[in-house]
Amino acid sequence: MALIYITLLQPMRAAYLEGLPELLQDAFHARTRVVESDIDISFAFHQSLNQYHGSAILLRLTETAPPEASKILGITEVDLFVPVFDFLFGEAQLGGAGALMSTFRLRNELYGLPADEELFYERIGKEAIHELGHAFGLVHCFNPACVMNPSTFVEQIDNKSKDFCRQCRRLVEDETAKA
């Protein structure tokens, strides 16, 4: 059975992970372990953008991944970017070991809307499954209900479900069986 490390990259409130391990266990038929990372992500900070370089953090995360981890998911509250894109919700190594996500743009308040904790946790769950799905080798799916449907703004995250479509489900089961 695959083992997924859920790694808190500071700054990150552990409270935000409520229900996430169970959700990932269910989605990937995997075990999970929540750990606090000692990686200092300030090295990836870009002064003029006031954002953190996602790919650099992801690389550092996977370099320090424990050998028993099948996949490692880093979660942080900071805003992420990669060169040429102005932001990203998350990033993953396609078919690789690591995935990274940020909760920064998942809050309603950022868009001038009233806070909605339930929706916020739901978005964290979908984004975590989506990025880990990439790490398990899945590419974007154009089924609008599938969790692997690409999301480039929060409403797209809200529109899709937290579940894989039948085709993606089959692929992810094949992959997790190998792990």
Binding site: S55, F81, V82, P83, V84, F85, D86, F87, L88, E91, A92, L94, H134, V139, H140, F142, P150, T152, F153
Partner: protein, 445 residues
């Protein structure tokens, strides 16, 4: 088209841009490669074709604008999306004027790129689908029954090839059953109008009032029974070809209306005040002596000259006897396939009968005779007795048993008597012209 079937080439001099875009497209499942400059990009085109190219406008050496021109020259269907850090309107407008599909400025908003790429993939899908359908249309349009090695038919086919390249009005002359409609379709299929419809109007099959309605269409309530607005054939043929079969059978009033439409390419639906424009090529066909009809005042001279710009005369089958065995073999193969019957040829006697017959109904009659024989035969070879020809090789009197055969012979006799004038023949036979047409078609005469 799913994203995984789409190939993407990213051309940018900055490694970090190439790297993150490559990963972004890979997450969509696209086949993606990168190039650091225009030279490397053009080399990539030597290896394979690409569906979508994202290219930076500002690059050392050849810039993105010039590179997209080169790519356009290689294949205009490749979707080119410009990336620019200098998002000035001028640069973007220049890129779009040069034929780029869209442009996106750095830093790229993922939602914007996602939107552009989804549209580009859809456009690419439509381009592929259109190419596939065009190929299918070309296959379907190839008329397979214009067969012959005689000099007469070769000459006709050469002329078809020549006239198809032009938009000239064509008149096809020839006896009934010589393949006038097939030739009209061949001209259309080889013309630049081939992806638009060819609309056939059998002028002899409609009474005058109905022909007018067929041609011009009508508005709801234009006449009793006009319950709906209906487009006429002039509108349906827009951008395509309008084929007037048996043009010699059009009445005088209709000739005048037709002349006006051909001159102005404008018309009004029956009951409508609005004048509509349409663009079509005209091909007409007749088996009548139109010059005689003009002399007798039955056909307008001005319409005659308008239609008779380029004439193609189809030889009757009896004047190209060398093609009979070729056509018979072709029809035999065709029907053997469609009827799933293992019939491989004709007996010597059957072939002699075919060669000696004078074929008043021309190729259509030959086709029908073979089809009937194919239905009847239980052998692998078609025998003379299975060819239900009204006159046998020896020219003796026909052996007629059935009422159908008798009717066919009688109609044939009347047609020959009136020099195949449909109106006169129908009058003599005491039936409607439309009925006569149906019977001619049915019997292949």
């Amino acid at each position: 088209m799913e994203a995984r079937y789409v190939s993407v080439l990213i051309v940018d001099d900055e490694y970090s841009v190439r790297d993150s875009l490559q990963r972004w497209f890979k997450s969509y499942g696209c086949q993606v490669e990168t190039a650091a400059d225009a030279t490397e990009a053009l080399n990539k085109f030597k290896e394979q074709s690409w569906d979508i190219v994202l290219l930076d406008i500002k690059m050392p050496g050849m810039d993105g604008i010039e590179l997209q021109r080169r790519i356009k020259a290689i294949d205009d269907n490749i979707i080119r999306i410009m990336i620019t850090a200098f998002a000035t309107v001028d640069t973007a407008v220049l890129a779009l004027k040069e034929g780029a599909y869209d442009y996106i400025s750095k830093p790229i908003n993922p939602a914007q790129l996602d939107h552009i790429i989804r549209n580009a993939i859809e456009k690419r899908r439509l381009i592929s689908e259109a190419a596939f359908l065009r190929k299918k249309v070309d296959e379907l349009l190839l008329p397979d029954e214009i067969i012959g090695e005689s000099s007469g038919i070769r000459k006709v086919l050469e002329m078809v090839g020549e006239v198809a390249k032009t938009d000239a009005t064509v008149m096809i002359r020839g006896e009934s059953g010589t393949g006038k409609e097939l030739i009209a379709r061949a001209i259309h299929a080889n013309s630049k109008r081939r992806y638009f419809p060819i609309i056939t109007i059998n002028c002899g099959a409609y009474p005058e009032g109905l022909l007018e309605s067929e041609l011009f269409g009508h508005e709801k309530g234009a006449f009793t029974g006009a319950q709906f607005t209906r487009k006429g054939k002039l509108e349906l043929a827009n951008n395509g070809t309008l084929f007037f079969d048996e043009i010699g059978n059009v009445g005088m009033k209709m000739q005048m209306d037709l002349l006006r439409v051909l001159e102005t390419k404008q018309f009004s639906r029956l009951g409508a005040e609005k004048v509509s424009s349409t663009d079509f090529r005209v091909i007409s066909a007749t088996n009548l002596d139109l010059e005689q009809a003009v002399r007798e005042g039955k056909f307008r001279e001005d319409l005659y000259f308008r239609l008779n710009v380029f004439t193609l005369s189809l030889p009757p089958l009896r004047e190209r006897p060398t093609d009979i065995s070729l056509l018979a073999g072709h029809f035999l193969d065709k029907f053997a396939k469609s009827m799933n019957k293992p019939v491989g040829g004709f007996s010597e006697e059957a072939m002699q009968v075919l060669l000696n017959y004078h074929w008043p109904g021309n190729v259509r009659e030959l086709r029908n005779v073979i089809e009937r024989a194919m239905v009847i035969t239980k052998e692998e070879i078609i025998k003379a007795a299975e060819l239900s020809l009204p006159f046998h090789a020896d020219g003796g009197p026909p052996e007629v048993d059935s009422l159908e055969e008798a009717e066919k012979l009688h109609i044939l006799r009347i047609l020959n008597k009136t020099n195949r004038n449909i109106t006169q023949s129908a009058e003599l036979l005491g039936i409607e012209r439309a009925t006569l047409y149906n019977k001619i078609k049915k019997y292949g005469i």
